[in-house]
């Protein structure tokens, strides 16, 4: 067990995936983020130089190349960079990769991982702050990982690479410096298994990705106020560990869903709708969503902070439904 940053844990996970299977290749090397720590990322770049291809600025083309490579025996991890750049590659990510296995009734597989940094990173402004995971969740046939802790990012990247399905792997610039315990001898984190990051009895907070540390912070504040919150981190959206969420709601009867995608048709909407459909009998209060309001992302910090779903917003939402 060692303390490390999210960024380091991801670099280690990717290296382990490369070391375990020589079919794994990297398309692009922009995992480290804008201010990515070179100490953490350069070993990967050096040890696996021959497994890394640096493509031109051609997201649609190189994601398509990754799909083709995945169909023919490789297991590419594609580093798309900023989440909205994946829009350029949408036709291949959403309209080729997820259809291959289904379209052949299981004859072929497309084991590709599309890695992107999503969400409000600080001054990303209008076009560099978008979190597209909800759009991909609306696309059947894609697995989606949204790790919110160092241990999870390491374990999930390995599981994503090992999976025979196309996988969207979402990381968040603001998670990179987050520190946590990682069991270096540990294996994959299985897809589809939620993690109760904090047990509690008064209210459930379902949180993903960057919202996991924020939810834990909110839970600490709430504890001081006498409210005992349970924090459930699904860790993967597809497959979704619905049971874990419903189990927690059955226990608490109250739920806030916290997610940093835009509100309408966002990740929080899907989780809320699922609970309203299958956990209704347990509910004793409205389901609150803490998400980005339906607004593009502004540049200035004052405005950006205003629309960011923070720990404070989670606390407020919990207070509203726990009155």
């Amino acid at each position: 067990m060692r303390q490390m940053t999210y960024s380091e844990a991801m670099a280690i996970g990717i290296q382990e995936a490369l070391a375990e299977d020589e079919r794994v290749v990297l398309m692009g090397a922009g995992f480290g983020g804008l201010r990515g720590d070179p100490a953490v990322w350069s070993p990967l770049r050096e040890n696996f130089r021959d497994r890394i291809t640096n493509p031109p600025i051609a997201e649609l083309g190189y994601c398509g190349i990754a799909v083709g490579a995945a169909l023919t025996g490789l297991r590419p991890i594609v580093a798309i960079g900023t989440g909205s750049f994946s829009f350029e590659a949408f036709p291949q990510i959403a309209n080729e990769a997820p259809q291959a296995h289904y379209g052949t009734r299981g004859q072929v597989t497309c084991p590709v991982v599309f890695h992107m940094r999503a969400g409000i990173r600080g001054a990303g402004a209008l076009q560099h702050s978008i979190a597209p995971q909800a759009m991909y969740w609306n696309t059947p046939g894609l697995e989606i990982c949204v790790p919110g802790s160092p241990a999870d990012v390491r374990g999930l990247i390995k599981a994503a690479v090992r999976s025979d399905n196309p996988t969207i792997f979402i990381d968040h610039e603001r998670l990179h410096p987050v520190v946590g315990d990682v069991d270096e001898s540990g294996g994959d984190v299985p897809l589809g298994v939620a993690d109760v990051k904090r047990e509690g009895s008064d209210v459930t907070i379902v949180a993903t990705s960057i919202m996991v540390p924020r939810a834990l912070e909110a839970a600490a504040t709430l504890a001081d106020q006498g409210t005992d919150a349970e924090v459930v981190d699904p860790r993967t959206l597809v497959p979704l560990d619905k049971d874990a969420i419903l189990r927690s709601v059955a226990k608490t009867g109250r739920v806030v869903v916290a997610d940093e995608t835009q509100r309408s048709c966002g990740v929080a909407s899907e989780i809320a709708a699922t609970i309203a459909e299958e956990g209704f009998e347990s509910l004793r209060a409205p389901i609150r969503r803490v998400a980005i309001p339906n607004v593009p992302i502004p540049y200035h910090q004052a405005e950006e902070d205003y629309i960011t779903p923070t720990a404070g917003r989670i606390v407020e939402a919990v207070q509203e439904i726990c009155r």
Binding site: V25, G61, I65, V67, P91, Y102
Partner: protein, 343 residues
């Protein structure tokens, strides 16, 4: 360019494949128009392009990859696909290559190296480049060949894949079937397009330092000879290559629903196009790759007219049997829709 063409036996096989494609496509049109519920949407047939598909596939080996488009029926048969499972797929039967899951847009045939069939214009080119990328990485001597229409050059995806194929020297053969060409333009000179600004389609590939070729899509031998050379060079580490096959669109191929103008193909038209429907005559005389191959084989004395007709009769019968096979095959169960979403 007809030098070093394939031997006669090979040509007989090629003619048989071409005939088979034509006869199968006729069955497809007939099924689509005779039944309301077999092919419910629009679909595309390969009539008139048979020489390109067959000529190119003759050059491929069993381990090579082939990518195709919305106009895939013919490519899959050219690659060696059996007519029964092809028609069964097109009408959605469990005996189809994808057990009716993909239909006319997505005939996929894993055992033939056809791993995903995109019906999105230009969807296949990056994937084919990816197969080539994977070949290179794995160090095999396979080849990745992708068929696509002239419209693909209008999509940005093509240009991105072209750039990377060229930069990375990928073992990729890009076979562009330009079916917007008039018979005269097919063999020589410039041909304008209303939707692409280059004088010649190949100009763009050439600008990207890719070796380009133009071939007469009416001439199976020319296609086969060219492709045999290029496939060989690709295995040696050359590549990518861009080929424009110039084709004249079959007059039945207008709009989104093909029409069997003047009925199914008559072998008699080969020697007397004037007996065909007026809209077809010029095409049969100057552009139909099947008629052109039959005529030249007989003129050269390589085959008799009777032998040619026998090959056609065989193909016809195979297509009819394939139709029966498909029609008598079971349809998928409704609940099977939920199978195979994830591996």
């Amino acid at each position: 360019m007809t030098t070093a063409g394939p031997a006669v036996d090979t040509l007989k096989d090629a003619l048989h494949r071409m005939m088979l494609i034509r006869r199968v496509e006729e069955q497809v049109i007939d099924l689509a128009t005779s039944f309301d519920d077999l092919i419910r949407g629009h679909y595309h047939v390969y009539i008139g392009q048979e020489a390109t598909g067959v000529g190119a596939c003759m050059a491929l080996g069993p381990d090579d990859y082939m990518f195709t488009t919305h106009r895939n029926h013919g490519h899959v048969i050219a690659r060696g696909g059996e007519p029964g499972p092809v028609i069964a797929e097109i009408i959605g039967r469990t005996t189809g290559y994808n057990m009716g899951r993909g239909g006319t847009f997505h005939v996929i045939a894993k055992h033939l190296g056809v791993l995903q069939t995109s019906a999105v214009v230009a969807g296949g080119v990056p994937m084919a480049a990816g197969a080539a990328f994977s070949i290179k990485r794995r160090g095999t001597d396979q080849v990745s060949l992708v068929f696509f229409g002239d419209g693909v050059l209008e999509e940005g995806a093509f240009h991105e894949a072209l750039n990377m194929s060229s930069l990375w020297n990928l073992p990729l053969i890009m076979m562009c079937e330009n079916n917007s060409v008039h018979p005269e333009g097919r063999r020589q000179g410039e041909q304008p397009s209303s939707s692409f600004a280059a004088t010649q389609l190949a100009d763009v590939a050439r600008a990207m330092n890719v070796e380009t070729h133009v071939v007469d899509g009416g001439d199976a031998r020319e296609v086969a000879a060219l492709l045999t050379g290029l496939v060989g060079r690709t295995r040696e580490g050359e590549g990518p290559f861009f080929i424009e096959s110039r084709l004249t669109r079959w007059p039945g191929n207008r709009g989104q629903f093909p029409e069997l103008i003047g009925g199914p193909h008559q072998m008699a038209w080969t020697w007397d196009p004037g007996t065909a429907d007026e809209r077809l005559q010029d095409w049969l005389a100057n552009a139909d790759p099947v008629s052109l191959l039959c005529r030249s084989l007989v003129e050269e004395g390589a085959m008799t007219r009777a032998e040619v007709e026998e090959i056609d009769a065989t193909a016809r019968q195979e297509a009819e049997e394939a139709r029966e096979f498909a029609l008598s095959s079971p349809i998928p169960s409704p609940e099977s829709a939920m199978d195979h979403i994830f591996a």
